[in-house]
């Protein structure tokens, strides 16, 4: 018996056949490809931009800090810190910075600013960018101020005008455009004003309770920064000071931006996934049409592997090409990011091409296309050559085991890609579960819808309405894929809107009588009466007058903080050990607090251990519980306390809240300052009040919450712009998928329409049938998407933000009708040619 030899056609033949077969289907292949291009483009643009930003931050790390390393503390350096600094050769420049109110000659306006008093040649790297340019060099010698450029523009201040800071008045020498160590995000709340260090004392702005930062700059190119980080920093920690090198600071900053990049990457990845669903659906129909050719090739002697490989190569090539175009789109898109983010970026960006981003784009193109085409592709293996003789010969569906294998591979791959994008297995898993649930709900809803129509078919409806409903569950219908595409897109966009609303609602000042919109910080005890009088003189009320006592933790559960610091396996968050707590004392809880365990003690005396109340956050971060002891160093006096109650604090309330709360009767005689809150009826009253206050009490800082809210809104606006931008890729991908899905079933639609026309249906009737079909699909998909996002946002509000969720009307009023209309237009425009032409002409052409 002769056993046939091995097939002789090699890989080049497979390539040739893939090319020959694909050549005739280029239009359709391009359409499949288009559905992944934007997703890949979005991923690549974000990846490349993040990489470039990280590189730029690392490259410009010295310019960002202005020095090789900094020692900083929120109190004046003690002898030990001085000694450590001396042993490092002494600092080369120093700075004292704090928030303060500023007023300007020639205008009545006042503004909270960040005063930076600098001495020495800081910055040693980079420069103070000013207009005029020489102002940066002259300000020390001439004794003037450099003022934030935006603030100067807002207040119409020109060089030569005077700025008043506490007891001093200085000429403004120039507009400060950029300075090492100034953060644009905080700069919007308190814009920087740089003055010579020697004026800090005379300004008399540094008083009890003032939040002052002391920074000592070192220029030492030979220093081993890693050694400093490992040896000197822990010693400084013991003294509540900190050493930051330019490299550690830049990598910390890089990580912060990287996190935002990771989030955006996920949004982009969803666009890619959506495109892949489009691929799966289009390839399914494409391969179905190729099954005859597969059977014939097998009949002529091609093996199962060969026929499988022909189409696999086609799809891999399509994915690769999509990857190339996607990478091109991504690299082009990243050019726009600096415009969106503007001054949120910490460095001047020189954009470059990130090789890893390009490679990952190409790989994503191939992997995702092949992965999502795998299910229909595998069906070619089961095609019998007998189909050449008998069309009905079975054997082209996949066994359940194979099907589960394919789905498993898809989910595993999505998980691995998410893991690569997020760098966190738990988040990646949640993301995959979230995606799975969303897709499952959307497809479940589509199935239910189809089942519902079948079961409760509205027989009394007119012909067009009935026919269009029937189209939704005919064989090879696109109901599922269209509902998925439209649903996921709507879900994404409306979730973004709802979340933005939620964040803003958290920060919005509720217009109630007792909700303050002005907070006065650093009010000294002897200024209490004067401040009260000024408030009342402006027909406003003191809403709260809260005493503040500053203290640090000395020991937790009997262990001194320095011992805890040295313990490498301690579970206490680092900030707890070095933070200067601003605490208060009172005999009651306030509206923003809720007792969650223990009993609130309203008053106590100095006999024995002091019963205190702590916040839930504090319990988590300090790793303590009810009954644990904590000792505080209250400006030199050690106070032993015990946790008697734990409160949940609503930190989102724009009013003073406290981690540590003492009972009445303990701290009344401790050195303290006060925080006042009040409410100004309108902007004029607020401005007049602030002017008076700055004139009478220059050391008091005024936080105008309305102004703060504007800054926050501006910030959220910028961030949401870029999120919307990336999310819009999902919508556009959705449209392409929609377009592709409609094109894929074009032939079937044509046959149906031609049949209807042959039977006497008029063009108008067919138009109505088509329009109604897309109307149902668009409305159902977008509605499910929006409702799904409404539910998830409500859950988010309830469990994560602990707030009442009032959804925005935008998704319902604009998104729902908008997407429905778009679906209708695309569907109708694709079928227009068919409706208009003569039946036979259409059939011949197709």
């Amino acid at each position: 018996m002769n056993t046939p030899k091995k097939q002789k056609a090699g890989f080049s033949w497979l390539l040739k056949m893939a090319w020959r077969d694909g050549r005739a289907s280029w239009g359709r292949i391009l359409l499949f490809m288009a559905s992944t291009i934007l997703g890949i483009g979005a991923v690549v643009s974000i990846q490349s931009f993040s990489d470039t930003l990280k590189e730029n931050i690392a490259f410009q790390s010295k310019e960002l800090m202005g020095a090789d390393y900094i020692i900083d503390s929120d109190k004046e350096p003690n002898e030990r810190v001085q000694f450590l600094m001396d042993s490092l050769g002494g600092f080369d420049a120093r700075e004292v910075s704090f928030a303060s109110m500023a007023s300007f000659s020639g205008t009545d306006q006042t503004r909270l600013v960040r005063v930076r008093g600098i001495e020495g040649g800081f910055p040693f790297y980079g420069s103070l960018e000013t207009t005029p340019e020489n102002a940066a060099q002259d300000y020390q010698q001439k004794g003037g101020a450099l003022m934030d450029a935006t603030l100067m523009m807002q207040f119409d201040i020109q060089p030569g005008d005077t700025i008043n800071l506490g007891e001093i008045s200085l000429p403004v020498l120039g507009a400060l455009k950029k300075a090492p160590g100034s953060n644009s995000m905080f700069g919007a709340i308190a814009p920087p004003v740089i003055i010579p260090f020697r004026f800090i004392g005379p300004s008399q702005l540094v008083q009890l309770g003032s939040r002052v930062d002391y920074e000592f700059y070192f220029e030492d190119t030979t220093a081993d920064l890693e050694v400093l980080d490992e040896t000197v920093d822990p010693m400084l920690d013991d003294e509540n000071a900190d050493l930051d090198t330019h490299t550690s600071t830049s990598s910390r900053l890089g990580r912060r931006y990287e996190n935002f990049g990771k989030f955006l990457n996920l949004v982009a990845f969803i666009a890619l996934l959506l495109g892949c669903v489009g691929i799966a659906s289009s390839i399914h129909i494409y391969i179905k049409e190729k099954l005859g050719a597969v059977a014939l090739l097998k009949c002529l002697g091609a093996t199962r592997r060969q026929t499988f490989m022909i189409y696999l190569l086609q799809i891999a090539f399509m994915g690769f090409l999509g990857g190339i175009i996607g990478v091109g789109v991504g690299l082009l898109l990243q050019q726009f990011f600096p415009y969106f983010l503007g001054d949120l970026l910490p460095v001047n960006l020189s954009l470059s091409v990130s090789v890893p981003a390009v490679v990952s784009g190409l790989l994503l193109g191939v992997i995702m296309s092949v992965l999502f085409a795998l299910y229909p592709l595998l069906t070619t293996l089961g095609v019998s050559p007998l189909q050449t003789l008998r069309k009905q010969a079975a054997g082209s569906s996949l066994s359940r085991k194979w099907a589960w294998g394919v789905f498993g591979t898809i989910f595993l791959s999505i998980f691995l890609i998410s893991l690569w994008l997020l760098d966190n297995a738990r988040y990646a898993l949640w993301f995959v579960i979230g995606i799975g649930v969303t897709f499952a709900i959307l497809s479940g809803a589509a199935h239910l819808f189809m089942k519902g129509i079948k079961r409760y078919f509205p027989k009394h409806w007119n012909f067009e309405a009935r026919q269009s409903l029937l189209n939704l569950f005919r064989p090879q219908n696109q109901t599922l894929i269209l509902i998925l595409a439209i649903g996921v897109g709507s879900f994404l966009i409306s979730t973004l809107y709802f979340t933005k609303d939620m964040l803003l609602a958290q920060a919005t000042l509720e217009d109630q009588q007792n909700n303050p919109n002005i907070v006065l910080l650093d009010v000294q005890s002897d200024q209490r009466q004067g401040v009260t009088k000024t408030i009342e003189g402006n027909e406003m009320n003191v809403i709260s007058d809260i005493p503040i006592v500053t203290m640090r933790i000395a020991s937790i559960k009997g262990r001194p903080v320095n011992e805890i610091r040295r313990d490498t396996v301690n579970e206490v968050n680092r900030w707890i050990l070095s933070h200067e707590f601003r605490t208060t004392y009172r005999d009651h809880m306030v509206d923003s607090e809720e007792l969650i365990s223990g009993a609130f003690v309203d008053s106590a005396d100095r006999q024995g251990v002091i019963p205190i109340s702590v916040s839930e956050n504090f319990v988590d971060d300090a790793n303590v519980s009810l009954g644990d002891s904590i000792s505080f160093n209250v400006q030199g006096v050690i106070m032993p306390t015990v946790i008697k109650s734990v409160r949940r604090v609503d930190w989102s309330r724009m009013e003073p809240n406290f981690n540590i709360l003492f009972p009445a009767g303990i701290l009344e005689n401790a050195p303290q300052f006060r925080v006042f809150t009040t409410k100004a009826g309108n902007e004029n009253v607020s401005a007049r009040f602030q002017q008076q206050l700055v004139r009478l009490f220059p050391n008091i800082s005024v936080l105008d919450l309305r102004q703060l809210l504007n800054v926050l809104q501006d910030l959220l606006g910028k961030i949401s712009w870029i999120i919307n931008f990336i999310a819009s890729f999902s919508i556009i991908t959705g449209i392409i998928v929609l377009f592709g899905a409609i094109r894929s079933t074009r032939f079937q639609r044509i046959r149906e329409s031609v049949l209807l026309r042959t039977l006497g249906a008029r063009g108008k009737q067919i138009t109505r049938i088509v329009a109604l079909e897309y109307l149902y699909l668009g409305a159902l998909g977008s509605l499910i998407g929006i409702l799904l996002s409404l539910i998830s946002c409500w859950l988010l509000a309830y469990f994560a933000f602990d707030t009442t969720f009032v959804p925005s009307w935008f998704p319902f009023v604009v998104l729902f009708p908008g997407i429905t209309l778009l679906t209708l237009i695309i569907g109708w425009s694709n079928s227009r040619g068919v409706i208009k032409s003569a039946p036979l002409k259409v059939l011949r052409r197709e």
Partner: protein, 227 residues
């Protein structure tokens, strides 16, 4: 006498819903090398099923098919495919050309699968032989039915098959075109010395062969020599 195809007690059933339908029932016959052979019978008699089993496109429930000395049931699907590529040619009622390939590309597919060098030259010669030398780059949808079947004939003879199976080769053609295609089929077959097995219900065509068997209800009725 050397037989190129031996069919021995062949039985094949299909499931139709809950019912088992026996399409072929204990069929046996042999075809000598180089002969022309017709399988005739009314619609539903099992002709096409028999052809499929003889060509290794399907596997019988019982009985054996020995093609070119190889028992088909002992081969895997891919081994049967390779055997077809090396030894078998096909002509179908509905031409079965790959719609995305040109006439020339369709003809060279079996040769390329065999790894033949200069396949295009052979393909070109074959197409010229069937009178389509000027239609090499035309796609199937640019050719008439008769022309498509001529391309299929060129493809069927491309790999110099030992045996050629033709399933109603004129079934989709008008009478005049059908006659021309039949003449061409026999002419090419004679030239190549290939064993020809035709499945048809066209008695005129069947009578052109050396041998004829008649199927009815899945059973072999008569084994007769052509008139």
């Amino acid at each position: 006498m050397a037989y190129i195809l031996k069919v021995d007690h062949l039985t094949k059933s299909y499931r139709s819903g809950s019912r088992e339908l026996t399409v072929l029932n204990d069929v046996s016959f042999s075809i000598p090398e180089g002969a022309t052979f017709a399988i005739v019978g009314p619609s539903g008699s099992g002709k096409t099923t028999l052809l499929g089993l003889c060509a290794g496109l399907d596997i019988a429930d019982s009985g054996t098919v020995t093609l070119c000395g190889t028992t088909l049931s002992s081969l895997t699907e891919d081994e049967r495919a390779i055997l077809r590529n090396e030894k078998v040619g096909f002509v179908f009622q509905d031409f079965q050309l790959l719609p995305t390939l040109t006439a020339l590309e369709n003809v060279v597919v079996p040769l390329e699968l065999l790894g033949v060098k200069h396949a295009e030259t052979t393909g070109r010669t074959l197409l010229e032989k069937v009178g389509l030398g000027d239609r090499l780059d035309h796609y199937p949808n640019q050719l008439s039915g008769g022309e498509q079947q001529r391309v299929a004939l060129a493809r069927a003879f491309a790999n110099k098959p030992a045996i050629l199976f033709a399933d109603e080769p004129t079934g989709n053609l008008d009478e005049a075109t059908g006659e021309k295609v039949t003449d061409l089929l026999f002419e090419l077959n004679k030239e190549a010395g290939t064993t020809l097995v035709i499945v048809t219900h066209d008695m005129e065509l069947a009578r052109m062969t050396d041998h004829m068997i008649r199927l009815k209800g899945g059973k072999l009725m008569k084994n007769e020599t052509a008139v």
